[in-house]
């Protein structure tokens, strides 16, 4: 099944992205940020909702806007865009809750064949990295773009 993506806005350094989720609870602005860490080419992927009243970003909010597949597909599209500019990036991601980490894992599992065409995918479990396997539980994920 094909999954649509939302239109995305990006910052000049392609490290911050924003899009609007449109679902049963209305329009909700989502923000994705890639944050460089101490090790060269290592980035954290953060993702959450922007509160319209304050402009603050919160990754603990549970939105349930009924469009989680489209939202995840849009976040994935930012990974492609980001790694076009930063092809050596190693991107770490984890959910802010166990259920959200599970949602990421399901999202990766469902699209693993396509993702593996372009990325190495690893799952973190008990302080060890493993080659990602569909439907296995992980605490975090690391993706690295393949040199095609």
């Amino acid at each position: 099944m094909a999954i649509d993506n939302y239109d995305v806005k990006y910052s000049s350094n392609l490290m911050t992205f924003e899009f609007v989720s449109e679902g049963i609870k209305g329009k909700i602005t989502k923000v994705v940020q890639y944050t460089p860490r101490g090790l060269k080419n290592f980035y954290n992927l953060g993702f959450g909702d922007k509160k319209e009243e304050t402009g603050e970003v919160d990754d603990m909010i549970i939105t349930d806007n009924g469009d989680s597949k489209k939202v995840l597909a849009t976040v994935a599209s930012t990974v492609y865009r980001f790694t076009e500019k930063y092809p050596d990036a190693m991107i770490y991601a984890t959910g802010s809750t166990k259920s959200r980490t599970r949602m990421y894992r399901i999202g990766i599992s469902n699209n693993l064949k396509d993702i593996r065409k372009d990325f190495f995918v690893f799952g973190l479990k008990n302080n060890q990295w493993h080659d990602f396997e569909a439907d296995k539980e992980y605490e975090g994920f690391l993706v690295v773009r393949k040199k095609n």
């Binding site: 911050t16 990754d59 690295v144």
Partner: protein, 53 residues
């Protein structure tokens, strides 16, 4: 005539927004970043990565 299901994926567009440059020096997800730092410190990178590349 039966309507065919549209299975073509709608790719979203990407557009530059100057407004987002205000986040350039700001960490929006500090707790996640802390977790990432902890993983780097305790676990490091996958050994498989170096075999793969």
């Amino acid at each position: 005539m039966e309507a065919k299901e549209n299975t073509k994926k709608k790719k979203g567009t990407f557009k530059y927004s100057k407004k987002l440059d205000k986040y350039r020096e700001k960490i929006l997800f500090p707790k996640k970043v802390e977790k990432a730092d902890e993983v780097l410190r305790k676990v490091g990178l996958p050994k498989q990565l170096f075999k793969s590349s």
